[in-house]
């Protein structure tokens, strides 16, 4: 009789020490699986960093214009309505891919380009080949303007509200999904 009770208590012991680490593993694996699934389904992008400039005024850093190096790009001339600032470069392949999307956007709001670390001649050739959706283009040869905006890789786009505050930052090319799900709703809200 007593032997049997002992046997039962022995069974209860291994059960707990088996289940506890297993539960720990399952919780960790659950987190990993959730993160993996979110990444694969496209709702989480580990390369997309949050911008701290959201709802802050757009940095006023002067840059020479592409078509006239003596003139300065001034966002204040566009103040009073929403606009999109797009950092791009001729050497950047995703910038080629987003050219049609920018052309589409330029029909609804002014799109300002900043040629990031690019030779003006290369930028010009790029615009000739892929189209020029920009209302104005600034030149940021050494990346200082990009640094002021917190740019960490081209293409990067900033939606700026009528009050000149940054509403949204998108790092990476604007594809159909980003256009439909992120930018167009945000622009509608801004307008």
């Amino acid at each position: 009789m007593i032997g049997r009770t002992n046997n039962q208590s022995k069974r209860a012991g291994p059960k707990l020490s088996f289940i506890l680490p297993l539960v720990g593993f399952l919780i960790l694996a659950g987190f990993a699986a959730a993160a993996l699934f979110a990444t694969l389904s496209g709702s989480r992008n580990p390369a997309q960093l949050p911008s701290v400039l959201i709802s802050k005024p757009a940095p006023a850093t002067p840059a020479p214009m592409l078509d006239n190096a003596a003139a300065t790009l001034d966002l204040a001339t566009f103040a009073g309505r929403p606009l999109l600032v797009n950092f791009f470069a001729s050497w950047c392949a995703p910038c080629q891919a987003e050219a049609p999307a920018l052309a589409l956007l330029s029909e609804t709001l002014p799109v300002i380009g900043v040629a990031y670390k690019d030779k003006p001649a290369d930028t010009q050739a790029f615009l000739n080949q892929y189209g020029n959706p920009f209302s104005a283009i600034g030149v940021d040869r050494d990346g200082r303007l990009g640094l002021a905006w917190g740019v960490y890789g081209v293409p990067e786009s900033y939606l700026i509200g009528a009050d000149s505050k940054i509403l949204l930052r998108h790092a990476g090319p604007i594809d159909r999904r980003v256009l439909d799900e992120v930018l167009i709703p945000a622009i509608r809200d801004a307008q």
Binding site: F18, P21, L53, A97, Q129, Y130, G153, D175
Partner: protein
Amino acid sequence: MRPVYRNFGLILLLAFAVAMDIGGVSGIATPAKAITAEEMLDDPKLESRARNLSKQLRCLVCQNQSIDDSDAELARDLRREVREQLLEGASDTEIIQMLRGKYGDYLLLNPPISTGTFVLWLAPVAVLVTGVGIVLAAFRTRRLNGETAQSPLQSVEVVASGTEKSKTSIYLYFICGTLVLAASLGLYLLLGRADLGDQPLALRQAEIETAARTQAAQAEKLATALAAAKQQTIDQPENVRSWLRLAQSAAMVDDSKTEIRALKTADEMTGGDDTVKSMLAEALSRAAGGQITVPARELIASVLARSPTEPRALYLAALAAYQDGEYANAVSTWQKLQSVSAVDAPWMTLVDQNIANAAAAGGIDIPKRQLRPGPDQADIAAANEMTEKERRVMIEGMVSRLAEKLVENPSDVEGWRRLGRAYEVLGRPADAVSAMVSAADAAPQDADQQIAGLQTIMTSGLDRQYITQASRLIERATQLAPGRLDLLFLRGHFAKLAGNNNKARELWQSLLQKLPADSPFANDLESAIAAL
């Protein structure tokens, strides 16, 4: 007690932790000193402060290196920024605050404790505490078990069987481990040994050489063709054909610059010919690695606005829609291309594939029937293998099947059009005309359909016999699209047929005024008016 199962969970947890660790460690295992000599400051004190700051800042491109280690462009910019601020006399905290204001906490390799990061900081402690708890619990159970084992009440059999079980499990572990090791060693010796030769490649050497020779000969041929075409454009610069030939030869050798230049010249010479414009759009897109660029899109749109059935422009418009992710639009445009193409057009197979791809990508349901309008590609391939006579018999068989179907379902406009084209190919103009007239009758609200019918009547050479049908189509088309230039021409043609030369002259003259003066067609039209 079952030691194997008991440890199973713990082993998994450990393996997971080790895997995570390896992931973490490998990121910092090979620190590369990325800083270059010209970046360094002259003042050693400032320089050491700069180095110290750089080590605390994350490179946002590599995301697992400090800007001190990273060779990325952005890291270089940040190092420059740090040094410039130091030279201006900023304190370390000021510099960090300034950069944090632009890039956020993520910039700091040591994240500050905040509501967002406390889980991160707490997690290692929590894991440690849990681990200690588990180990203590395990010890306690073991001690309890040990006590019971020594208890005089414990039966000898149980103890013996317990020891035996743990012994078997040790043997099991040992055997499994040895097997894994032996298997990997065996695999290595069989497939991965360093001294194994590259025999398959050596065997293929001759084949590779032949292929290279053929390729070189081919390239030389293409280069000669290109040079000849270039010479021709110099000899006959006013001949559009020579420019088109140059574009073609340049396309064969992937010389997109020459191709685009030649096509632009041809475009100017023809005053904006739709085919040339479409070819230019295609060349621009090919130069951009297959992406339909914005300038190409503008060309396509202008071509389609004037001639909505230009096959190349239709194809590219569909491809542009596909690239934008507008799959439904892409499918319908490609289907339109299929409906205006001859059944044996060379691009049909490609378009079929593209429609299937776009439908799959967009989750669009396409009935099998629509995927293959008219005779199937395999039928056509089979037809190409046959003799002329057999082919005719086969095509006629398919055509009569299509005709039967259309008798049952006379409202199928596309079906009538296909039938009409098939009859044209077979050289049966009367049947072609009646099929196209049926297509026009089936879509009385579609001006394109009426005009296509009129064009078929006119080019069939049977226009005198079909004058009543023609006047019916003209009446409808004039109501739908009175201003269309092609309609004006057709109306003039049929007015002339009806003997009404005055009306024909009036119509053609109004057409002439709308044409650009240098259009080659305008000359023909003028002489036609003069002949009236």
